[in-house]
Symmetry: C2
Subunit: 355 residues, 2 copies
């Protein structure tokens, strides 16, 4: 019997302002070369090379981001670009792509990947993906990639791993005891201390049959609407869907969820501060991303981002984020990286440009 | 008897790198709008308005800076632009201009002003200048403007004031007891504590007769060479002159030096840090010069310089100098403003661009 065909879904519809001023006009980080030489979306697609051919890569994004998707992935087929009329969180997005693939190939396997994560090395990721497809061959399992936690994160959902069900391609496949929504700090610290907890990566592998069954059981109305939506009226059907996260609507309620751990480098690159881990720091601990030149006197632990041809000069400063992009320059204490969002909101409220 | 005619000499030949990256390609601060809406040279000329007509304003600069002088003062007459073939410090520059004015009008009065100082308000400066011209009418006095010191500066020469010789236009005219070259900190602190000491501003007023006599007595060879230099060979004559400061060669040895104090705002704008005093700080103490927009969250005592149309955003930072200019951005702790010079030297040694 031939091995089932593997399709990929890249979730590229997110929005965000934490990477201002590199991110402008609503162009969020998946379309930017924040962490490498090419956009995060292009790097996510490249991570699948040799495992999923381009004609089986689907991208879910919103209509107003279509041009950026094509900019990042010039080879994408029109039929593989699923453009939401507007964002409705991950449950509708994942369900739409999953049912579309199931329509094309009821026997297929599927991998769902956020388009704005950094994962290294590629070989290790592909090994996990191959193991996950093995695990999904039972046509009932929903396999989630769990990240071995390195700090008590309050920005991620957590997974309590259960027993090891099997060894797959040399990796442990865990049962999932339960999911925990983004916890308070004290609880996250407890999880870290207890062990056996992982971060929910939002990366999934399943068969067309398994995801159809899970959708039909846990979000029957969503599944029915998406299946029956007339092409001429798809936009209004989609817009009327409930805005809900896939984890909450489906994953937390499903019984056949399995987990494969990721022990190598993973980052959701949540803010400028995350770039420290992505760019090898120089001798003084300064990290430069984006191609700019940096010259530093007595400066350490800074994160610098600016395009090629720009120079960032640092004298006597520490723990700063310095970003130059177009007509704006950001200088931010590292511990305040989350507040870039606040600053952008203030620019918006004051109706200033530079957004 | 008609009042003597007043000529002005603007010394615009200085060089410097402390205002990098606004200052590039050897374009020093007198040609830049560092401290206001127009270049410091143009502001210096504007400070003379109503007292010295433009046709009696002479500018001393170097040949390679001529284009910048014309950019700042489009009205300058060719014959009033004295271009040194190369810089020879202030004694040759001042002597050249003084003897040139004396040649044109032996009866004239002269005011010599560095082109890179900020003085406010203009009316107060003009009052001091009018008093100085009164004092210089005796045809023997060399009048220097003394700055009432506000801190123990080690970057300026100091003047020990003697007795009050006269009241001129309501201002005290002091005898000068002695000049002190840039002192060590402890000595500067002593001067400040003792009182009766002033900073040497490098601004002078004298008659053509008085300066000719002083030059003939204290730098006779310099005066003779400049007077006799054949036009066709002026460059090589000038290049062969001794490189020496006017204060050392003439002023410190002259006996007929008088001083008028400046009690109002004066700054030689020695580094980015000096701009704090020039731009009214906002409620958080951040100073913005150069036309950029600034948006700040929990940031204080920063000095920001960038051209119009640029935004500088600050989050959680204090006591920084942030400068964006062309293809370079500087982020420097305020107390390290002097080290901009070091950084530029490093760029030069490493033969990098951005200079």
């Amino acid at each position: 019997m031939a091995a089932p065909t593997l399709y990929a879904v890249l979730l590229a519809g997110g929005s965000g302002t934490r990477f201002w001023p590199a991110s402008r006009a609503g162009k969020p980080k998946q379309f930017l070369a924040i962490a490498g030489q090419q956009s995060m979306l292009a790097e996510t697609a490249a991570r699948l090379e040799a495992l999923v051919p381009r004609e089986r890569v689907l991208v879910v994004s919103t209509g107003d981001q279509a041009a950026w998707v094509r900019e990042c992935l010039p080879w994408i087929e029109r039929e593989n670009l699923l453009l939401e009329p507007l964002g409705r969180n991950t449950a509708p997005a994942i369900a739409w792509a999953a049912l579309e693939i199931e329509r094309r190939d009821p026997d297929a396997l599927q991998v769902v990947l956020p388009a704005d994560h950094v994962i290294r090395p590629r070989e290790a990721f592909q090994r996990t993906l191959r193991a996950a497809t093995q695990a999904a061959l039972d046509r009932t399992s929903l396999v989630v990639f769990g990240i071995r936690p390195s700090f008590p994160a309050t920005a991620f959902g957590w997974i309590r791993a259960g027993e090891v069900l099997a060894r797959v391609d040399g990796l442990d496949l865990f049962a999932v005891q339960r999911f925990v929504e983004k916890p308070e700090l004290a609880r996250a610290q407890q999880f870290l201390a207890d062990g056996g907890y992982y971060w929910n990566s939002g990366m999934f592998v399943w068969s067309s049959a398994a995801i159809r069954a899970a959708l039909a059981r846990h979000v029957p109305e969503l599944a029915a609407r998406l299946t029956r939506a007339p092409a001429r009226d798809f936009a209004s059907t989609y817009a009327a869907l409930e805005t809900v996260a896939f984890d909450v609507a489906v994953l937390e309620r499903a019984e056949n969820v399995r987990m494969l751990p990721i022990d190598y480098f993973w980052s959701d690159v949540g803010s400028w501060d995350a770039l420290q881990a992505l760019a090898p720091p120089d001798a003084q601990g300064n990290s430069c991303v984006g191609g700019a030149s940096v010259v530093a006197l007595d400066s350490s632990r800074c994160i610098v981002h600016a395009p090629s041809g720009q120079l960032i000069a640092l004298i006597g400063v520490e723990d700063l984020i310095v970003v130059q992009a177009g007509d704006a320059t950001l200088v931010c204490k590292r511990e305040r990286a989350q507040d870039v969002k606040t600053l952008v909101e203030r620019l918006r409220v004051e109706q200033r440009s530079f957004l």
